[in-house]
Structure formats: C-alpha cells, structure tokens
C-alpha cells in the first residue's frame, strides 16, 4: 500500500548541525512517524552474511545500550540497529554502519551473543566492495594500500623519528646479515609517524636500553598492522598486510614480538594466524615490561608525585583480557597517586578511535553531541586526575585534542605510560630532564 521509500520515513533521533545538538522529538514533525512496513530486505542481507548471522538474534533486552559508548553521546547501539533493520534500514549505506568503534562492550554483556565485532566487519566489507565508504575513511584506506600507513607517508620516513636521536636502536632492515634478537619490537604507525607518538617511541627506546633488552625493529619494512582496516571491512588489504608483516616476522629471528599498539597485538595474536597459518609469541609492551618490574623499579628512581588515572584500551582490555600489566607498571613508578576512573577495566569507556573511528571524526561529529574522547577526558578530570595515562598509540592525540576542545587545557596531561616510566628513569622528551 505505501509506495514511499523507507528512507523518507526514517526519523532523525539524533541531529547535530554545525556542532549544535538539535536532537529531540520535534524534528519528527518534518517526517511521518508511522511505521508503514516491516521491510526485512536488509535484515536478511545482513544475517545471510558470514559473520552477520547473530544480528537477527536480538531480543531487545537493551543491555548493550547501557554500555554502548556511542549511545552516551548520541542514540545508537546494537538493539537499535536491530530494530532499524527490522523497519527497513539499509545498513549497508547508512551512517550507523560507521559509528561503531568495535569496543566490544556490548559483546561483553549481550545474553544472546549478538556479536557486533563480527557483524560490523562483515557488513562493512560489503559496503567497501560497493564503494559506500565515508570519504575520510576512504582516504585512509588508500594511504594504507599505497604507503603502508594511514598517514600516507613514505616507508622511509617510518624511521625518521630516530634521526638525531643518540640512543642506539637496531634497525634490522638496515643490517646486511641480521643476527637474531630476543625482542622484535613492532613500533606501529602512530609511534613512527605522529609527533606525540615519536615521544613515546623514544621513551620506549630509552627504557629498553636501560633494561638491557636485546631488541630490534623492522624499520622501513614495517607496515601498518591492518587491524583497524580489517574492522572497517577491508579484508583484502588486511590480508596483504598480514602477509607482508608476517613475512618480516619470519625473516628476522626473534623470541618475542613486542608491540606498542593494542590493535597490533590483537591482529598478531588473533587474526594474523588465520592468514599466515603461523602463531606469534606476541606481547603488548606493558605485558613485556611488567615481567621486568623488579629491574624497572630499581631504575625508576625519580618520583612522579602526580594523580594519575589510566584509560584501558579496548583492544588490550576487553578484547584480550589484559587489565593488570599497565597498572603494574604505573604502580611501580615512585610517587604516583593512582586512581581509577568510574568506568574502568571491563567497564572501560572507549576513546572513539577503534574500528575505524580514528579516521571518522567528521562523520561521528555529525551524529553525536560530543566526542567519546571528550566524554572520557571529563571523567578523568572528575575523578581528580592530573594525568591521563594511556598505552595505545591512538589515544594520546585523541585525548590531547579532547582536553583542548573541552576547555581543560592545563588541567589534564595525557601521557603514554612509557613516557612516565622514562621520566622516572631520569629522562623525558615531554616532561623534561631531571
């Protein structure tokens, strides 16, 4: 009977125009509110996808919404996506496909095991194949495909951060006959190319060197780990990257693969083996260093008398169950007054950078009242922290921007844990020398 296309009927439950939140029931007056059809075309398409099956399992208990970080700043979440699909939403071409940060908090609580971490990449893969990808994300994907990093920088510049840096680092890609290393350190894109990431990379080098770790890096042969690319649906690109990096891991003999980035950790531990058919002895740097906590404590002599809180990265915490290692390191730093935020560990709030969110700030801003990173920064300040410690390379820049945009300049400093450790050992690019 109704010959209207569904798109005309959808109501805008969340509207931000030029940064001003104008959400509210009033905007319904512009479009008919009545549901005229339960068009299940796209629901069927989603549930028929490999990985998309569980989208149809939702029974509307709504526990997901209680923990969805996007719903905190907008109207979103798995049970709502389920209902929208049931009422005809073409998720393959809708912004709802791109708002999910794959933080997996919904998966933690869902009694029906609706698995957004499988659903999102499966649906996004179709969107990518059909060219329905937000521009900002498309640019990133092109950069990664072309240059091996999301910034679109050349492979050579991956080691630019080491120029004029006195500390010795073995760049295995430059060695003619590279000898085995105990630790192969995967530096990651943001530690390599982002200026605040460079600070952390240098701190890492100093800490490794003081500890006497036998380590090396892949230098220009290192490429993006591909995990976020996999999660935005670029399965082909992910597989290429897995094969490339996997080949480097083969080439350079090592005992441990230590990564700076929880996303890389997740990729190497859980998803590279599916492509390369190899298992990796991979640790996040906080896990690796927490095994050396006694040696570290004898090196970390300079007190850091600050109130410090810690943001659990989704891909270290909820995705991989590691909550202790970062806290072990922070608590080993003399003088620190450590405090938890209200939402911590399993309940930790997402920074907004995962699942492609890192490159979707524009789209997300159009549909939310504030950034997730802003929401998080306010929480850190609320619990009385002076320093927000992180251990994911995505986060320093995100939170530093959020500190500024929430007018909290000077109230909260954002530091990678390794930077604080480095300071406590008597060095620091950011905090200054002793």
């Amino acid at each position: 009977m109704a010959d209207h296309k569904y798109e005309k009927w959808i109501e805008k439950d969340n509207v931000v125009i030029d940064g001003i939140d104008v959400s509210g029931e009033w905007n319904r007056m512009y479009e008919p509110r009545e549901i005229m059809e339960y068009d299940l075309t796209y629901m069927d398409k989603v549930t028929e996808l490999d990985g998309g099956e569980s989208m149809g399992w939702c029974y509307q208990c709504a526990q997901c919404i209680g923990v969805c970080p996007i719903d905190n700043v907008g109207s979103y979440g798995p049970r709502k996506i389920f209902r929208k699909l049931q009422t005809g939403l073409n998720l393959f071409e809708d912004k709802d496909l791109w708002l999910c940060t794959t933080c997996t908090n919904c998966v933690r609580v869902c009694p029906k095991e609706v698995d957004m971490i499988k659903i999102m990449p499966a649906v996004r893969e179709q969107a990518v194949l059909n060219g329905h990808v937000p521009d900002e994300l498309q640019d990133m994907l092109q950069n990664v495909a072309e240059y091996g990093n999301p910034m679109g920088e050349s492979a050579r510049k991956r080691v630019k951060w080491m120029k004029k840096f006195e500390e010795p680092v073995r760049d295995l890609s430059k060695e003619d006959n590279p000898q085995p290393v105990d630790v192969l350190w995967y530096v990651s894109d943001y530690f390599s190319y982002h200026n605040r990431g460079n600070d952390a990379a240098k701190a890492m080098v100093r800490v490794f060197n003081r500890l006497g770790i036998d380590y090396g890096i892949l230098g220009k042969e290192e490429k993006c780990d591909g995990d976020s690319q996999r999660l935005v649906g670029e399965t082909g690109l992910f597989e290429e990257l897995a094969e490339h990096n996997g080949a480097q891991f083969e080439k350079y003999e090592h005992n441990n693969l230590v990564v700076s980035d929880p996303h890389a950790y997740n990729a190497f531990k859980n998803f590279y083996p599916k492509v390369t058919k190899k298992e990796y002895n991979v640790q996040h740097y906080t896990q690796f260093l927490s095994e050396h906590v006694d040696a570290l404590q004898s090196l970390m002599k300079r007190p850091y008398p600050k109130k410090v809180t810690f943001h659990d990265p989704c891909y270290l915490g909820r995705h991989n169950g590691e909550y202790n290692a970062p806290r072990t390191l922070l608590n080993a730093i003399p003088g620190i007054e450590f405090m938890e935020m209200y939402r911590c560990k399993e309940q930790g709030y997402c920074c907004g950078g995962g699942g492609g969110g890192m490159w979707l700030d524009g789209l997300v801003a159009d549909h939310t009242s504030e950034r997730l990173s802003e929401n998080r920064v306010k929480e850190a300040i609320e619990v009385g922290a002076e320093v927000l410690a992180v251990c994911c390379p995505y986060e320093v820049s995100r939170f530093e921007d959020a500190v500024k945009s929430t007018n909290n300049d000077g109230k909260l400093q954002v530091l990678d844990i390794i930077e604080i450790m480095d300071y406590s050992m008597g060095n620091s690019d950011v905090l200054g020398d002793a």
């Binding site: 009545e34 549901i35 339960y38 099956e53 399992w57 029974y59």
Partner: protein, 353 residues
C-alpha cells in the same frame, strides 16, 4: 476389600494421565468423556503439533490413549456426561448419561479433568474484527490449517506473504474480566510461527507481544529457535485495532521499542487466544459442589503446594480445569491426582477393613 473405582472426568491429557496412573497403582478407573473419542482438546481442536516438543499431536496423544484403551483396569465411557452426584466420597453415587440413558455408578473418588475452552475473540472488547474479517483467525484456526499442511489466506485461498500473531487476546484484560496470563499462547504462537515459516519460507511472520512469556526450556527451544533459525520477527507492542483497506487487513498499534506508531498490512492475522474455564469445568463445580477460585477455575486448596486437592474430600482436579496449564502441567497434575485419589480410596478401604 471393596476397592471402589475412581471416576476420571475428561479424557484429555490430564484425564488420560490420571486414568493411566490409577490403573498403574492397581486401582480401577472409570474414564468418561463427552466426545466420541479420547485425547481432549488437542484432538478436538485439531492441533497440528504439540508444544513445545513439536511432535505430531495425534501420534503423541495416541501414545497416551493406548495406555488406557487396552488396560483392564480402565473402563472407558465415551459420549458420556456426568449429570448428578449424591453422597460423599468414598461413597459417591454419580449419574452418567449417554445415548442409551442414565446410569448411576458408585465410586470412591473423583478426578475432574474437564479442561479449558479457547477464548472466543468475538466477545472481546478489542477491535480485532474476528467475525468481520476472513483473514483474522485464531491460534486454533491456524492449527487446523497447519494440521492439514496448507496455510492460506482464508479470503482468497492463496499463500500469504505476510502474517502476524497478536498475543494476549482474551488474557491479561480487566475489561474482559480475564485477568490471567494464559501461559501457553506465547509458546503456541511461536510454535505456529515456526510451522508457518517451515511451510512457507517466503512468508514473513511477525509476533506482536506485550512480553514474551517463554518460561523454562521454551525460551531456547521455541523462542530462540524461531528467531534465530526461522527468522520470525518479534515486535513489542500488541496491536490496538484492525481495519480493512482494500483486500488487506491492516494492524494498527505502537512499535514500542521504536517509540513509533505502526500501521502495517497483513495477509493473515492470528489472534493468540487464551484459556477460559470450560463449560464442563463450570458444570462439574456445580455437580460436585466444588468452589471456584476468583478467576472462575476450580480451586485447589494448597496453593502451590497442593495443586490437585479441592475443598471437597475425595474430589481432585487436574489439568487446565484449575487454571491455565500447558501439557507438562496437565500431565504432572494428572499424575498427582491419580496418586492422591488412590491414596484417598486406600485410606478409606483401610478404615472399612
């Protein structure tokens, strides 16, 4: 030892189980049913498959019937009704009436298993138009079609493309006077939804509900199965009214989890009608002077702790005669009534001895 027989009234699931139990315990049962066959409502109303097992109803009920038909301790009287009772248990003179006339029998105890009747959506105050629209049917009408293996739009005889169930019709309703949840309709609607999807894979099936009451194993064995394997759509918010537009019926209500009004055409609407005390149940309460509880079903005295004993000594009740019951309930109370009626007769015998 006099060993007076126990009269079981009603040959549905509860009565069959009671009669079988009495015989198994070595007592004599007289099983009467007003119909010319045993099996009760599942058979008389042409249920396609039982809930939740999804076994063929006839096959399942025949299994129960066989246990009493060739049993020397069970005296089966079909086409028979109970018209009067005199005396007190264990010495009751009950009048049975059949085509041949009246007969008075002397029994030691009674099990009333006269069951329920389906709510008649024609008498309801809701605007579902059961007697106006051909394509608005009940769970029972749907069972009949499903049993015949051919689910169609009654108005055209064509296969439907879009079908919905409306839950809680005649239940949970102060205006109608039926305050209770009928307990089984969520499960039966879900079972039928699965059967429809199985029969017609291209037909969309929706269930409009207030809350899905899929207790125990029904949750995953029916509800999850329907949703996950058969892609049945459960939508919260039951329909307010039905209107006709052209040759389709349109269901109108609120999609509550979307917070939006909803007005959607359907090829067939199935009303999930609930349970009411049957005429037989009301009649037995009069004949044996058994008090009814506030909803109009036969009252048992022990609440949750004694589900079969009535206020009248020696008179027990089983199945949906005491309130909404599923098959499991009916079989369980049937067995319990068998045990208690035999115990009653045995105690009486011991006193006389």
């Amino acid at each position: 030892m006099p060993n007076l027989p126990i009269l079981v009234i009603g040959g549905g699931p509860a009565g069959l189980e009671a009669a079988r139990g009495i015989a198994d315990l070595g007592y004599n049962a007289i099983l009467v049913d007003k119909a010319e066959f045993l099996g009760g409502t599942p058979i008389s109303a042409d249920y396609a498959a039982i809930t939740p097992d999804m076994r063929n109803t006839e096959e399942a009920m025949n299994e129960m019937i066989e246990k009493v038909t060739d049993n020397p301790l069970v005296d089966i009287r079909l086409n028979t009704i109970v018209t009067a009772s005199e005396g007190e248990a264990p010495n009751l003179n009950v009048t049975l009436k059949n085509g041949k006339g009246d007969e008075t029998i002397n029994v030691g105890s009674i099990v009333v298993a006269t069951g329920f009747q389906h709510f008649d959506p024609g008498k309801e105050t809701q605007m579902y138009g059961y007697y106006e629209y051909d394509d608005v049917i009940t769970l029972v009408d749907a069972e009949r079609m499903l049993k015949a293996g051919d689910f169609v739009r009654p108005s055209t005889g064509e296969k439907p493309k879009q079908v919905c169930f409306i839950q809680c019709v005649g239940s949970r309703d102060r205006q109608i006077g039926n305050f209770w949840c009928s307990k089984v309709c969520c499960g039966i609607a879900t079972k039928e939804a699965i059967e429809i999807r199985h029969l017609l894979p291209d037909c969309r099936v929706f269930v409009f509900y207030i809350d899905m009451r899929m207790y125990g194993f029904w949750e995953d064995e029916l509800y999850w199965k329907a949703q996950e394997e058969y892609k049945v759509n459960f939508i919260r918010g039951i329909v307010t009214e039905i209107t006709q537009r052209g040759d389709t019926v349109v269901v109108k209500g609120e999609d509550t989890t979307m917070g939006r009004p909803m007005e959607v055409p359907m090829d067939v609407v199935i009303l999930s009608v609930g349970m009411e005390p049957s005429e037989g149940t009301k009649e037995m309460s009069k004949i044996f002077d058994i008090p009814l509880e506030s909803h109009g079903f036969i009252e048992t005295i022990g609440g949750a702790l004694n589900t079969v004993e009535t206020q009248v000594p020696g008179v027990f009740a089983a199945g949906a005669t005491t309130g909404p019951a599923d098959l499991e309930d009916s079989i369980s109370t049937g067995g319990s009534a068998a045990m208690k009626s035999c115990a009653f007769v045995r105690k009486a015998d011991l006193k006389l001895a």
